[in-house]
């Protein structure tokens, strides 16, 4: 167990390195630096600007400086929000994005596993087909179409819920629609995955044994079958997290939620190099970390993996 953990941790380092190096190379090697705004500046001012941001140093030295700053959690200044550093902006937006993402993930897991198990147990009945159709819709309709439609129906037409905004951060009513919009594609995928893995698990010999021992159906399902059926869902958690992070860019945009996704889009529209790079590195690290947790979790749930 411990050796696996160490091995995975060591394995994550090159990934982080690739992310940071790619971002850095793109940032420094593209023609047209951040100060190429079309405004004519005297050579002295240009030189001073370059010095202030250490752009006059050799590239490799800049790279080392960048790495050093990152280890201290310093992503540099934002080029368009003059008074803020990238770290400050990320720190401001992250709690909101985190709450949105974690709630969406929790909802996706509960609803997805529930629907998947439900339809596996009613295989080929009408309710099973309804679930399959629902999950097909959830996968096919992209989030940037679904989110506006949800706003239109529940926020504007029916007026059940606020159509946008985040309230003061403590009002549940503002969070329901964005969380659903973000969770929907993941609910569908998890429902599909858990349905087929549950069907497969129910045909295993150990399930027949469990029934033969005289165990009640509830126990067979929740203690024996679910444990085998949940493994594909656990290995889907990595891609699901990436999907939720990507999806929250859209959802935060549609519902005007002040999270990292909005900063990221604004930064990309304004070509704020440091903020865009900072967010990419930050989310890259989060995904690497999360994949690590998923790997460990998988090892705990299925000890056969660890022994390999």
């Amino acid at each position: 167990m411990l050796s696996m953990l160490v091995k995975r941790l060591v394995g994550a380092i090159p990934t982080l390195f690739v992310i940071i190096t790619m971002t850095f190379v793109m940032m420094r090697l593209t023609p047209g630096g951040p100060f190429d705004t079309g405004r004519v500046v005297s050579p002295e001012v240009q030189a001073n600007l370059m010095r202030a941001y250490h752009l006059d140093e050799p590239l490799f030295q800049q790279y080392l400086r960048y790495l050093g700053d990152l280890t201290r959690g310093d992503f540099g200044p934002s080029f368009t929000s003059k008074d803020f550093s990238v770290t400050q902006l990320i720190r401001q937006g992250f709690p909101v994005s985190l709450e949105l993402g974690v709630s969406a993930m929790a909802l996706a897991l509960v609803a997805g596993l529930g629907l998947g198990t439900f339809s596996a147990l009613r295989r080929n009945q009408a309710s099973d087909h309804v679930v399959i159709a629902f999950s097909m819709v959830g996968i096919i309709i992209p989030s940037f179409v679904m989110a506006p439609i949800l706003t239109l129906v529940f926020g504007v037409t029916l007026q059940w819920l606020p159509a946008g905004g985040w309230g003061d951060g403590h009002q549940l009513s503002y969070k329901i629609l964005p969380v659903i919009a973000l969770a929907l594609p993941r609910i569908s995928s998890i429902a599909r995955l858990s349905r087929s893995s549950m069907i497969e698990a129910l045909q295993m010999p150990f399930i027949r044994t469990a029934y033969a021992k005289g165990l009640p159906r509830r126990l067979v399902l929740f203690r024996h079958a679910s444990r085998a059926a949940i493994l594909p869902v656990v290995s889907y958690l990595g891609p699901a997290t990436a999907g939720i992070i990507t999806g929250s860019i859209i959802v935060e945009q549609v519902f005007s939620i002040p999270g990292i996704g909005r900063y990221f889009v604004d930064a990309a529209l304004n070509r704020d190099y440091t903020l865009v790079s900072g967010v990419v590195i930050f989310y890259g690290c989060i995904i690497v970390l999360f994949n690590l947790i998923v790997d460990v979790l998988y090892g705990v749930l299925d000890p056969r993996i660890t022994r390999r």
Binding site: A242, T246, V288
Partner: protein, 278 residues
């Protein structure tokens, strides 16, 4: 298994065939659809700002917030979306074939390092890298499909590597080697031509991903720019004015969803036909 039985299996799959029919219709619409309307792409109708569909006046899908005919714009959007999808997957094909063929052909350490890099890239949220690239390189139509192609070649590289590993054991490679062909020559004129079949099929599976990514970017305003348009741009505009003009969201949204669905059905059918395991 011969190729004929695969095609027959595909033709017997109603979902896959439905997908083919729908895709054909959408391609035809993209190519010739503008001929169905009396309005031009840049005609502005000041008396019809965000007007609902009106078939008699020739506004099948209504007009947008600038008073332009939405049907013609949806057709143009289809053209751009499909073009970006096709071009991006061609680029991913070039990168993926080169990368996968080299990895599979050389094998050993080269292969394991190259595939490890693919694994690493696989775990990253690639949309962020597309956005990062467009921030640095700019947002012209060509940079958009190049950047998308530059990040979605991973699947292609895996498939090609697997095929190459199998191909290089075959007798004709041995024969070429016996005739004194160089590695480079074997790769370029013996391995790669034999990869084309499976590669073109897997390219079909990459196209919807590329279309979806382009729409995602364009929705956020980071992709295709005015006066050009794509489904993503139209959906973005529709989302902004959906309270007054919901059709601006629904028509392009429906076209995108139906296209993705058709590609999905077709792709699934194709995979089942070629690899009938289940």
């Amino acid at each position: 298994m011969t190729r004929d039985t695969s095609w027959r299996r595909l033709a017997r799959n109603p979902m896959a065939m439905g997908g083919v029919v729908v895709l054909t219709l959408i391609v035809l619409l993209a190519l010739f659809g503008s001929g169905l309307s009396v309005h031009a792409i840049d005609d502005v109708f000041w008396d019809r700002i965000s007007a609902p569909p009106d078939v008699e006046a020739g506004f099948y899908f209504g007009t947008d917030a600038n008073g332009r005919d939405l049907f013609v714009r949806t057709v143009l959007g289809a053209r751009v979306s499909l073009l970006v999808g096709l071009a991006a997957s061609l680029i991913s094909l070039v990168i993926g074939v080169a990368y996968g063929a080299v990895a599979g052909f050389w094998g050993g350490h080269v292969d394991s390092v190259m595939m490890r890099i693919v694994d690493i890239l696989y775990s990253l949220p690639f949309v962020f890298f597309v956005i990062l690239l467009t921030v640095y390189v700019g947002r012209s139509l060509s940079t958009i499909f190049i950047t998308i192609g530059a990040v979605i070649w991973l699947d292609m590289a895996r498939i090609v590597r697997g095929q190459t590993l199998a191909l290089k054991q075959r007798e004709f490679v041995e024969a070429a080697r016996a005739f004194g062909a160089t590695n480079r020559r074997i790769l370029v004129s013996h391995i790669i031509p034999n990869l084309l079949g499976p590669v073109i099929i897997s390219m079909l599976l990459v196209i919807p991903d590329a279309i979806l990514t382009e729409s995602f970017l364009s929705f956020l305003g980071l992709g295709v720019q005015e006066p050009n348009t794509s489904w993503g741009v139209l959906i973005g505009e529709g989302a902004q004015s959906m309270t007054e003009a919901p059709w601006m969201l629904l028509f392009p949204g429906a076209f995108l969803a139906v296209t993705l669905l058709a590609f999905n059905f077709f792709g699934d059918g194709l995979r089942d036909a070629l690899d009938p395991k289940e």
